[in-house]
Symmetry: C2
Subunit: 337 residues, 2 copies
């Protein structure tokens, strides 16, 4: 090709990016409460931090996370809508263990070539999840990256900001006998997909559209279920109970994330009969001959969020009482069974 | 391969990720002032929003941006260090047009396989840039994404949060005669690289290591110069002048970003003799036969940041007086010459 080069000819269509921003404008604005400040700048989103005046020591909490290789399984618009929900969930749920209330979310979407249908679906999912998390989808970046990413490659990263009173951080000392509460997971959420894909698709020989009797649905339907937004459930817990420690069960799995909240000399014992384990985990274990300890340090094993509370406060609507804090003997910090 | 599958065998080395986090711990903490709250949680960073009590109407400002396809040119550790600086600059400079002061920065780094040397260099650059921007590198996410990204592919996204008093947003009406001030760009910064690569590497036939007489250095040295941090220069401006409008000159170029701050009926006239234009822009134009209007709507053309101030306040140390606001006649909103 000869003749004058243009940015569009070089693979970056600024007009398409502008059309995309126009198309998603209404759905993004649907997440904007009265705290979002209208202003003419294209550079930064602005929002009022409601409630600071009532806090003894206001702190800003910030998180960053992506959806990992779960993105490889998405094909239909509704799959990308689900990934949008995952992206918000992975970030706002990470605000909750410090007791923070979500305030805003921003997304970064990058692709070799912008596919408006996929991206609009992802933004719809993000907006719905932000409404559920009571936070504003305040902005983001959509980057067309020819050569750096393949046309079909999509990178999704998210960032969330919340507020918490530094005088009310969950810092109470854990003691033997404390109860371990949990919120059920809907499935894998957005962690461990590299292992799950190898176990199920390569070793197991399953296709994404195969109906799997053990799961009662297709593999794609099972694996692409979005991560729940735990904001309301944690707010409900904290309204009645003083949580001593909390964990969002993500990378590192139930073992890694559980262990991180248990101090030296103690352990967390999870009663396997206390909660249902989604059958997808046993299918992964069987197909990949995965060691149970490897499973527990990669996947959430059915428990998406943990809270440690005093033993006499273990009955909370919507939460499962799944175990207790015990004296540790130097073995695994989280013992299942 | 048969036998038990592991997460590491599936391409995700959690131990390597942990070693990386240990290796960068000290450099990250070097950016933490007394406002960063130490706490045991792995989930969210916490920081005190200093100074909000003195604000009439405190607002949180948030930005998200990446470095685009500039990442494709990086090969040596110092190149990735420079990209780390770019990533912070692209985000904290976006906080400045609304008058916000940077408070925190978070990064998202994703690769098919984690390369500790590259990633540590990027984090060193980010930390140095955060120190220069007076903000904390509060956290981030480093994602190993086998299959989703090639081993050598690297995705870099960033996110910055700042504070601004809603009673002091730059909102004064522009008038003909207002002065346009600018901060010089160091080069392309991190925008327009898809066009620059095609023009220089494909059409021009240059190699990255070719010494280019017009540039006085190699092409790689020219293109990889990091974006400046404009935080101190803007603070200095605002200490003495009431800026009516400001713009960080990024995607959309001098034309797009300049036009966005000029209201209907007015135009911005830039005097081409008022400032040096780095020779790389003329080289791109010549190699790619790029139309001058396309150049100005893709690149910063040597002006990295714009501020519109009253005519009698145009003399500010460190800032170039590059033009003025004039009556517009429906033509280009930004006229160069």
């Amino acid at each position: 090709m000869t003749g004058p080069l243009t940015y569009r000819g070089a693979g970056v269509d600024i007009d398409a990016a502008t059309r995309f921003l126009d198309a998603i404008g209404a759905v993004v604005r649907s997440t904007h409460g009265p705290g979002v400040a209208a202003h003419g700048s294209q550079f930064a989103g602005l929002i009022r931090p409601e409630g600071w005046e009532q806090m003894g020591s206001p702190l800003i909490a910030a998180t960053c996370d992506g959806v990992g290789t779960k993105v490889l399984l998405a094909r239909r618009p509704e799959d990308f809508e689900g990934l949008g929900r995952d992206l918000v969930a992975m970030n706002v749920n990470d605000l909750l263990p410090v007791g923070a209330t979500p305030l805003l979310f921003l997304d970064y979407l990058a692709a070799g070539r912008l596919d408006p249908e996929r991206l609009e679906a992802a933004v719809r999912g993000m907006a719905a999840a932000c409404l559920e998390a009571h936070c504003a989808l305040l902005g983001g970046e959509t980057a067309e990256m020819p050569d750096a990413l393949g046309d079909d490659q999509l990178e999704m990263a998210g960032f969330a900001v919340g507020l918490v009173d530094g005088d009310r951080l969950p810092t109470a000392a854990l003691r033997p006998g404390d109860a371990v509460l949990a919120l059920p997971a809907t499935g894998l959420h957005a962690n461990g997909f590299s292992l799950a894909r190898r176990a199920l698709l390569e070793r197991g020989g399953f296709g994404l559209d195969d109906h799997v009797p053990e799961l009662g649905r297709t593999l794609a339907e099972e694996l692409l279920v979005p991560t729940p937004i735990y904001v309301d459930a944690v707010a409900h817990l904290l309204a009645g109970v003083e949580a001593k420690a909390m964990a969002h069960v993500t990378g590192g799995g139930l073992q890694g994330r559980g262990a991180a909240v248990v101090p030296e000399g103690l352990a967390m014992r999870i009663d396997p009969g206390s909660h249902p384990v989604p059958p997808v985990f046993d299918l992964i274990r069987a197909c990949g001959e995965v060691d149970p300890a490897e499973m527990a340090s990669t996947f959430n094993m059915g428990l998406g969020f943990l809270a440690v509370v005093p033993a006499d406060q273990a009955a909370v609507a919507g939460w499962l009482h799944v175990g207790e804090i015990v004296d540790g003997e130097g073995a695994e910090r989280v013992a299942i069974g």
